[in-house]
Symmetry: C2
Subunit: 253 residues, 2 copies
């Protein structure tokens, strides 16, 4: 197995950061940050905007989310440790954000890893949201940008996770293919190897996952299958003044 050959005359970098807490090590050199929390926060955000939610307010704490409960035009989602927090109707399952009742609403959302990662990187020049669901749309947009790109994995409670890093490898593969992008970090090389190992069958790499993960995934298997499906939408959530909105078509073009 070998990694893709990189154009030695690349103009911009694309790098993978495995942990939100390491974001400060990369921040100064990066122009665009892609926040990735495949299971399930960023998949849920993409789904909600694709199904008519008007905007998403990511908040870091359950307490802050609670202040929005019952507010006109708002739906509120709170997840901790994979469960819907008591008192909330929504968690981070993307399957819950597909009905007509969410049309035109503002979604307020707090999750264990995803919204915390957004908060850490909110001062990036541009912050967008990635998931397998918008893989091609996102990659097609990224490849046309002039600037360095950081693929920022949310991980799981501060630890490395396979699905975020494999997804990052998938995006990276498409950007390197263009010849406009190169990389300088070992983590980026490792993500490439993971993606190449998994590309035939993205579910396969998760099936190789350890027992604890398999049990967790079995419990939410419909979510996992949904979140690992590529290219169900062209929506790219972008952070504007602390609020995630679908990138406008004219901007995306």
């Amino acid at each position: 197995m070998s990694a893709r050959t990189i154009n030695p005359d690349y103009r911009y970098r694309v790098e993978v950061c495995f942990f939100p807490d390491q974001y400060p090590l990369y921040a100064a050199e990066m122009d665009i940050v892609v926040v990735i929390d495949v299971l399930r926060a960023t998949s849920a955000m993409v789904t909600a905007l694709a199904h008519g939610v008007e905007r998403i307010i990511p908040v870091s704490s359950v307490e802050e989310a609670r202040t929005y409960l019952g507010r006109e035009g708002h739906i509120v989602a709170a997840e901790r440790n994979g469960e819907v927090v008591e008192g909330f109707q929504y968690g981070n399952s993307p399957l819950a954000f597909q009905g007509p009742e969410i049309m035109g609403k503002t979604l307020v959302m707090t999750t264990t890893n995803g919204t915390r990662t957004i908060a850490l990187a909110r001062d990036a020049k541009r912050l967008v949201i990635g998931s397998f669901l918008n893989l091609t749309a996102l990659s097609d947009w990224l490849v046309r940008q002039d600037g360095n790109i950081l693929l920022l994995c949310a991980g799981w409670k501060g630890k490395f996770n396979l699905e975020d890093s494999t997804f990052a490898g998938a995006v990276m593969d498409r950007l390197l293919d263009s010849g406009r992008f190169g990389l300088e970090e070992d983590s980026s090389i490792a993500a490439q190897y993971l993606f190449h190992a998994a590309r035939e069958n993205i579910m396969g790499i998760l099936k190789a996952a350890p027992r604890r993960r398999r049990i967790e995934q079995l419990r939410m298997l419909p979510d996992v299958k949904y979140c690992l499906t590529a290219d169900t939408t062209g929506v790219i959530p972008v952070l504007r003044n602390g609020v995630l909105v679908p990138m406008a078509h004219e901007t995306a073009a």
Copy 2:
């Protein structure tokens, strides 16, 4: 490519931690910590003890190392950013620790990543030092232990590196093979994939490394080749009261 099948009835865990700063996330569950800084601190430590250094005092700061300069029976090594610190005779090049002048000496050592990692994990029940140079001796000893094992990568200035994680994958492969060990972390799965990608040719994965790394490696190519050579010694450094000594044969048996 697939990861090794894991015995579902394993007794102990072997896990990989990619970054020293994440050690606290694993510490409580682990009995034995293997500190890994292939390029070059742990390779240098193994080499020095294999060539007759009596003991190694790892210190965190250059200032502390400096207090040992000129002391009878001591040699002092200080490395920062890949260079020998001014005023010191030794850095972290293992090739410097092979001459007769080091026989019977106490080596005091501070390095950018390696000794800092030892300091972070010094309260582990057992702390040993790993490198390709003692891969088989270390693995043969580890596989007979009763307890959970953490393979703790020193990384490079807080970031992921390929050689430490690939080495961790190599050790893990041997422990999983025994059926006594299993794993629960995604990082451990990823290390396996990296090792399987690199096993045919350990130098190969580094040749795929990014430009910045290749330049750095070219500058110290004799060191890199030496550090990636497996099984040149049976010495396993073990931390006793803050000092690294070769594991006694009766203990190692």
